[in-house]
């Protein structure tokens, strides 16, 4: 698998973009896979009773899917050295229409000596960003 060449990258380059359609099924699947069975992620009545605008996607689901375009760009999940996000807005998943989450990954910083780049993610739902300071440090050296 070819590795992106650090010498060919410039700060500001968009290296990956993706749109993901979430449905209630996606939330149930993530609940089972992660073990997070908080009912605000699948029961409308519970979400409403605690004052939420609807059933929400798990923050960790949004974090988990948002890094995938970067993993595919880098060619190996093992190239991710560090990944952080702040959860700023919820993703409300409609029972019928679901929710569309869009991801854009941009080069934020290049460290040629360490052979790493910082990729900044813009993750949006309903035209507002849902993650703040979403940064992935990726190792682009030939050998891991």
């Amino acid at each position: 698998m070819s590795i992106p060449q650090i010498s060919e990258l410039t700060v500001g380059d968009i290296v990956a973009e993706r749109t993901i359609e979430l449905s209630r099924d996606s939330l149930v699947r993530y609940a089972g896979a992660s073990g997070d069975f908080n009912p605000i992620h699948y029961r409308d009545d519970v979400a409403e009773s605690v004052g939420l605008p609807g059933v929400l996607a798990h923050g960790m689901l949004t974090m988990g899917l948002a890094v995938q375009p970067v993993v595919d760009w880098a060619g190996d999940p093992g190239r991710v050295e560090d990944y952080q996000v702040r959860f700023t807005r919820p993703v409300v998943v409609d029972p019928q229409d679901g929710a569309t989450v869009s991801i854009a990954a941009k080069i934020g910083q290049i460290d040629a000596e360490a052979q790493t780049v910082r990729v900044d993610l813009t993750v949006s739902f309903a035209e507002q960003t849902v993650l703040g300071k979403a940064q992935v440090r990726v190792r682009l050296a030939e050998s891991l």
Partner: protein, 129 residues
């Protein structure tokens, strides 16, 4: 960490890399088995956090907990077959008005005791409005 758990989690986070799903592709890339997506460490951390929240003297009401931020710092990725141990440390507790912010750090090591990943979570515990 079972292989099917890694694959199930990979599907759940829309991971498409063959290294997450196909043991042959993972071996060809130099791994012992399928590689977990970066946020898979949350499955390990979740157990440690659940223990913390279940302690009677923390006084934390789970229904009032909101995830504030999350970070993973890796020495290497988690691979199916890993036997992992997490040690959770509460590194900071701050009060902001009625709310509390608890930062917990889970240091995750493998069977040899070597560092794999550290997961850092800040939980916001909402107080009475």
């Amino acid at each position: 960490m079972g292989r099917e758990k890694v694959r199930e989690f990979s599907r759940a986070v829309f991971a498409q890399s063959p290294l997450n799903h196909d043991p042959e592709a993972a071996v060809a890339a130099g791994y012992a088995d399928v590689v977990a997506p970066p946020t898979f460490a949350v499955v390990v951390q979740e157990h440690a956090l659940a223990e913390l929240l279940a302690l009677p003297d923390t006084g934390i009401d789970f229904s009032r907990v909101v995830h504030g931020d999350q970070r993973f710092s890796f020495t290497r990725p988690i691979v199916a077959g890993d036997l992992l141990t997490a040690t959770l440390t509460v590194t900071s507790v701050k009060t902001l008005g009625a709310h509390s912010m608890v930062t917990a750090e889970s240091r995750i090591v493998d069977a040899s005791g070597d560092h794999v990943v550290t997961a850092i979570s800040t939980l916001v515990v909402r107080g009475d409005e």
